[in-house]
């Protein structure tokens, strides 16, 4: 076999295509992501930019007037009603997200490491086959004055008159939202936990870690992204929801989502509605930052665990 000479090497090197410099070069396999990315750019990023620009305009009776100003944001800043409604939404979101993640975490653990079939997963996902409103009204039936819970408590003599506080209260909103969000939280956690191989857990036990230590030092840090994703996904959907609080939250069931919808639909004031939506988005980002910092302080964020 003939040995390759330096000249051969130089010639072959010339034939190798050099990658185009950024921004002309696309990462390998980019084509697979190009279509959904283009969809998102066109149908999400672009409308969001338009909405953001609109939030600095004014409106007169459904007609937007492109006059630059910050009056919408100033108005929101001093609107106590908006902040009260936002606070109601944030509380709904935080409680819903917290309980959705806490309740679905052990189920995800069972499904990934213990269960031999996916029957439990399918049972949890079964609730998706009923409509959102049907589930809301079902909870009204369960929690109502003459509902399942009150009837049971009355018939067993535990109470002598129906509990009025369980329906048309923040409790009713949150329990219904947990029911709606739990499958989403569970799916994200299952997906994240499947990346934590069983061998890692066994290795930790072999090295002397107790059960709680495996959870705290291996599973939680390695499913960190799943936990954050699961929490934020549930939080954003629950905090922005205004139908469930309106139907089950009683007279305090007004969230900022309803105020935003009113601006777009009834008032025809798109600029003010847009500004409200961006203020609400800013509060969501603050919640995200706070939540991530809490996880870091609790030493379950991977950066702190691996390098601290």
């Amino acid at each position: 076999m003939a040995m390759a000479t330096t000249t051969d090497y130089i010639e072959s090197a010339k034939k190798v295509r050099r990658p185009l410099p950024w921004p002309f070069a696309a990462p390998k396999g980019f084509g697979l992501a190009a279509l959904p990315l283009a969809f998102l750019l066109f149908f999400f990023v672009l409308p969001v930019i338009i909405l953001f620009v609109t939030s600095f305009f004014t409106a007169r009776s459904f007609v937007i007037e492109p006059v630059w100003n910050i009056q919408n944001y100033v108005k929101i800043l001093w609107a106590a009603g908006f902040w009260q409604a936002t606070w109601v939404g944030l509380k709904n979101g935080v409680f819903t997200a917290f309980f959705s993640v806490v309740l679905s975490f052990p189920v995800a653990y069972y499904l990934v490491y213990r269960a031999r079939t996916n029957v439990i997963l399918y049972l949890v996902l079964l609730s998706w086959f009923s409509s959102y409103l049907v589930r809301v009204y079902a909870w009204r039936t369960i929690l109502g004055t003459n509902g399942v819970i009150n009837s049971f408590l009355l018939s067993t003599g535990i109470i002598d008159k129906p509990l009025e506080i369980i329906l048309f209260s923040p409790f009713a909103s949150v329990i219904t939202l947990i029911h709606i969000m739990l499958p989403f939280a569970l799916l994200i956690l299952v997906s994240a936990m499947r990346d934590v191989k069983k061998e890692y857990l066994e290795a930790a036990r072999d090295l002397g870690a107790s059960g709680p230590a495996v959870l705290y030092k291996v599973i939680l840090p390695m499913t960190y992204k799943g936990i954050v994703g699961s929490f934020m996904f549930s939080f954003i959907l629950a905090a922005g929801d205004y139908v469930t609080p309106q139907l089950l939250g009683g007279r305090e069931g007004v969230t900022s989502g309803l105020l935003i919808a009113n601006q777009f639909r009834s008032s025809g004031n798109w600029p003010l509605g847009s500004a409200m939506a961006f203020v609400m988005m800013a509060t969501f980002i603050i919640v995200y930052i706070v939540f991530v910092q809490i996880l870091r302080l609790a030493r379950v964020a991977p950066g702190r665990r691996y390098h601290g």
């Binding site: 007169r60 009776s61 048309f168 309106q246 009113n262 009834s266 025809g268």
Partner: protein, 390 residues
């Protein structure tokens, strides 16, 4: 030997020829598909000459008010198809006909009070009443003939065709007290048993009446508006829930959650009766709230001839009587009560129409823009604040 036409061989040959005939070569296929594509796409751009009643009619109306059943035979006769979209709020119609993205809508409804905003937005086509012969002074009750919600600047802009009352509805058994006026809703027996319906159209005028601003509504100053809702606070203390729709109120009555509703569809008792819950509509000393729906032809209308014919058909006494029965509302046609069944006719005292209607008033809406008065947006804000307890 040449075979006869009835020979089996000929039959086979003919079948083959036929197959060959219907098989397309590439050129024919390309021409054909190009023609189909052109027809499908360009057809929509070709202006349609439509001088006669017929074709497709795009309408938007409240559920139960689309008249598809009542006009079925008539439409068949005129070869007319109706594509009806259901509006859940008036804003659904507004969204379709306002702005750069307005879409075709041949006929739609507006509720009382929306005349001002639609006039300002210039989305209405003038109505040529000669095309709606059923809309005439003799056949229509006076409040609905050329009233200022539908007729201004010497032009007819919409045709009112259905109306009704929203008022207090009570479950006497749960309430435990007699309700004759709005102040009765403040009795201790009703604490935590009252519902408000989230419907500005009829609830806001009632709020103004109850707090002493009935005569001024919808033109209240901002100070008057603040005072109005300050006076309303005792009613909030009585409230258990703010219902999202008439259906929601019915559900709340049926499940025994509420004993009274501040102002809701007067036909709620008929619906709760179906669920074996007795409720009654109370016409308080302050009076009920009148709503009225009118057909209008939006600027985006294309099939105008059919739109006119449809409105005229909606005013036929038989159609009016039928709609009043199915949608539990009242008629604008003098000839319709004679065709109604007893229950439908009993919804309003038609024999003393003028006298009875004198007590009522069809209200407009707060102005969308004003330096002098509280705007619709201001009302929306205080209404939201009221709900939150501010």
């Amino acid at each position: 030997m040449k075979k006869g036409r009835n020979d089996v061989g000929v039959q086979k040959a003919r079948t083959a020829d036929l197959l060959e005939d219907i098989m397309l070569d590439r050129r024919n296929f390309l021409f054909g598909t190009a023609a189909i594509a052109a027809g499908a796409t360009l057809g929509a751009w070709v202006p349609q000459a439509r001088a006669e009643v017929g074709g497709n009619l795009e309408i938007m109306a409240w559920e139960g008010y689309t008249l598809e059943k009542e006009t079925e035979a008539w439409r068949k006769q005129h070869n007319m198809g109706v594509r009806a979209a259901i509006m859940s709020t008036q804003d659904d119609v507004t969204a379709k006909i306002v702005g750069d993205n307005a879409v075709r809508l041949d006929l739609a409804e507006y509720s009382n009070g929306y005349n001002a905003i639609y006039k300002e937005l210039e989305v209405l086509k003038p109505v040529d009443v000669s095309n709606v012969p059923n809309y005439n002074k003799d056949d229509i009750y006076p409040p609905f003939y050329q009233g200022d919600m539908w007729y201004w600047d010497g032009t007819q802009w919409a045709i009112p065709w259905a109306w009704g009352l929203d008022t207090i509805v009570v479950n006497p058994e749960l309430a435990g007290v007699e309700v004759k006026s709005y102040t009765d809703l403040l009795k201790p027996e009703l604490t935590g048993k009252l519902a408000f319906l989230d419907n500005p159209l009829t609830v806001w005028p009632q709020i103004a009446k109850v707090t002493g601003y009935g005569e001024k509504f919808p033109n209240l100053t901002k100070d008057e508006l603040a005072d109005c809702f300050e006076k309303l606070k005792p009613y909030r203390d009585q409230t258990k829930v703010f219902a999202s729709s008439n259906g929601d109120v019915i559900s709340l009555f049926a499940s025994g959650e509420i004993a009274a509703c501040f102002c809701v569809w007067s036909a709620v008792p008929l619906e709760t009766a179906k669920q074996n819950v007795k409720t009654v509509a109370v016409y308080p000393t302050e009076g009920g709230a009148v709503w009225a729906d009118a057909w209008f032809i939006p600027k985006t209308s294309e099939n105008i001839e059919s739109a006119y014919a449809y409105v005229n058909q909606a005013l036929e006494p038989e159609v009016q009587a039928s709609v009043c029965k199915t949608a539990v509302c009242s008629t604008v046609s003098r000839k319709a009560p004679a065709l109604m069944d007893e229950t439908t006719r009993a919804l309003f005292d038609y024999d003393n129409f003028d006298e009875q209607f004198k007590k009522m008033k069809i209200y407009g809406q707060p102005p969308r823009t004003s330096e002098q008065y509280a705007t619709y947006d201001d009302w929306l804000q205080v209404w939201a604040d009221f709900r939150q307890g501010f």
